[in-house]
Amino acid sequence: MFGYYLIIAFIIGIVLMLNRNRVVRILLLGLFLAMQTAITIYAYFHLNETNTIYFKFDALGVIFMCVLTLLSYTTIYHSFVYLQHRADSSRSQSIYFAALIILIIVMTCAYLASYLGVMWVFIELTTLSVAVLIYHERTPLSLEATWKYVFICSIGITITFIGIILLSIAIQETEITNFSFKAIPDQLLHVSASWLKMIFLFMIVGFCTKMGLFPMHTAAIDAHTVAPPPISAFISTTLMNVGFISIFRTYSMFAHTSILPWMNMILFLCGLISIIVSAAYLLKVNHLKRMSAYSSIEHMGIAAIGIASGGIGYFAAIFHMILHSFVKAGVFYQIDQFHRNFRTYMINETGNYFKRNLPGAMVFLLLLIAITAMPPSGLFVTEFWIFKALFKSGHFFILVLALFFLSIAMYSLAKNFLYILFNQTKDLLPAEEKPNPTETYSQYILLALVFYLGINPPVGMINLIKDAVINLP
């Protein structure tokens, strides 16, 4: 089943690349979305089944696959809006959508891969397909960002590969060498601790490029800045989820060995330094998309701390990633509309958004509540659980530091968003076009999801997340 999906979807991607007709393009995208939805539903009802040898519909993969499918709808819609306003040539639109479809397919594969090597290959492919999208605007700045993103991600993924080779050396003494996520943990039990630590370090450094955690977070920030806003929404949510899944799976592989406390310490460090770095940059940042990117880094830091603190932290970290995906996607969709209104991303050249575009401004205000994790935002619940897990595991020092820097980040976000919404001290040029309220509907839907899932999470979702963390200590 999954094999058919892959073949047909790749064919759709190729036809999209060759096709120049607008109607055909819409039909093909519709067909692809229908297929993506169908395979997601199929996966949900065939949980824990292996499909097409290298893929498995396990709970963790299916959760993020659902998020991806939902965001595919909104991203494709907003891509249409974005491209229409830029009046791009039909050719560049074809390349854009083909790359977008390929990106969605390889991300789905990366979520569902049940072998380490297969996951690695698909993560590499996400880098290449997203590079085409980041470079869409063809400016010197986008060239710079794409170069940095491709280069740093390639090196990161190579470093991960060294980790995988070291892992294969470590387990080659066992009788059957098997690289599936299910079989690796048993084979690792007899490997010495120093070797395991080295493997873990190599793998985690590489995967951090995708998740945007501390040592390798810089590439993602620059990519956010220049990518088209709908693509920034993808980089910040589903692509970072790819990184999260890879780190989570790596962590699960090693979770039953003797290096668990040391691993937790490394993740605490990565997470905490990510929060500190993002808080420091948020204080001085003036570019709206960079601000949102740093806010993503901060949330990734929180999720890493959630994994490291154990207990309910695992559950909360996954839940946090889901909700963060919805919120951050909404932010970037609205930034696109914002940019068309002001013709700039610089915060200090804007203001009084409430007067200029009431529906959009309401979105920003609600997103501010959601993203700074104020109740009734769902993120409040997950962050509360993560801090509870930190408290229970006795890491008071990390708790205090994280809370302190989070409040700084919260202050900066609120200051900048409120400046955009209410500042009336500047004489601004009038908007060139009348804002279109229908473009904000997707953001209201995503916001409603965030608030609803926080208050009343459905049983099916809770069970999926529980199933994903069941093997962890």
């Binding site: 060239l143 190579t158 060294i162």
Partner: protein
């Protein structure tokens, strides 16, 4: 014999530290491809033929011929100055690369508990760190790709030390990865050459807060 080849590889890393002209870098990369061919020929002679042919293809055709030609083309097309323009004096580069090799030597002797061929591990880790060092200290964008290729060579040596345990699929994946990334990076180097007059990292410093 394997050890001699691996030592030759390590020496080529030191030579890269003092090389001044870009063509020297390319020649070193080609020589490294031949060395890798030698090592894999000796190590993997007993595994199945298809896999062997595949690996030999990867080292000789790809690493020794195709990539050097491609890099030469990129340099010619964009009129890149032939100097490598390092940020550090040559002497310091050599000292640092020597320290890297020494450090990898110590590291490979510290690690215990796993059966590993120390020589492979040592050279692979030195290649990784030297590649990163070259990327950090050279000014040109093309030299960054060369540093990346040195890292890839190190990875190749490390994967040889696992013998025939790595499956065909993974090998195919690696080759595809290197091929595509070099191609993509090359395309972007050309774009950078068209957009900016000089292709060095000073032009790539506009994205900041």
């Amino acid at each position: 014999m394997t050890n001699i080849l691996l030592i030759a590889f390590a020496i080529s890393l030191i030579y890269m530290g003092i090389a001044n002209r870009l063509s020297t870098y390319i020649n070193i990369l080609a020589v490294q491809g031949i060395i890798l061919f030698g090592v894999s020929f000796i190590e993997l002679i007993q595994i199945n033929t298809i896999n062997l042919i595949f690996i030999l293809f990867e080292t000789i055709v790809f690493k020794t011929i195709a990539i050097p030609l491609f890099l030469n083309y990129v340099i010619k097309k964009n009129n890149i100055v032939r100097e490598a323009e390092p940020f550090l004096p040559d002497f310091l580069s050599v000292v640092i690369i020597t320290c890297i090799i020494l450090g990898s030597f110590i590291l490979s002797n510290i690690i215990t508990g796993v059966h590993i061929q120390k020589m492979f591990f040592l050279v692979a880790i030195s290649a990784l760190l030297s590649g990163l060092f070259i990327i950090i200290t050279r000014k040109k964008v093309v030299t960054h790709i060369m540093g990346y290729l040195v890292i890839e060579n190190g990875v190749f040596i490390l994967s040889l030390s696992t013998g025939n345990k790595m499956t065909m699929l993974v090998n195919a994946g690696i080759t595809l990865d290197i091929f595509v990334s070099v191609l993509v990076l090359g395309v972007f180097v050309n774009r950078i050459g068209n957009t900016f007059e000089e292709m060095n990292v000073d032009n790539l410093a506009n994205l900041k807060d």
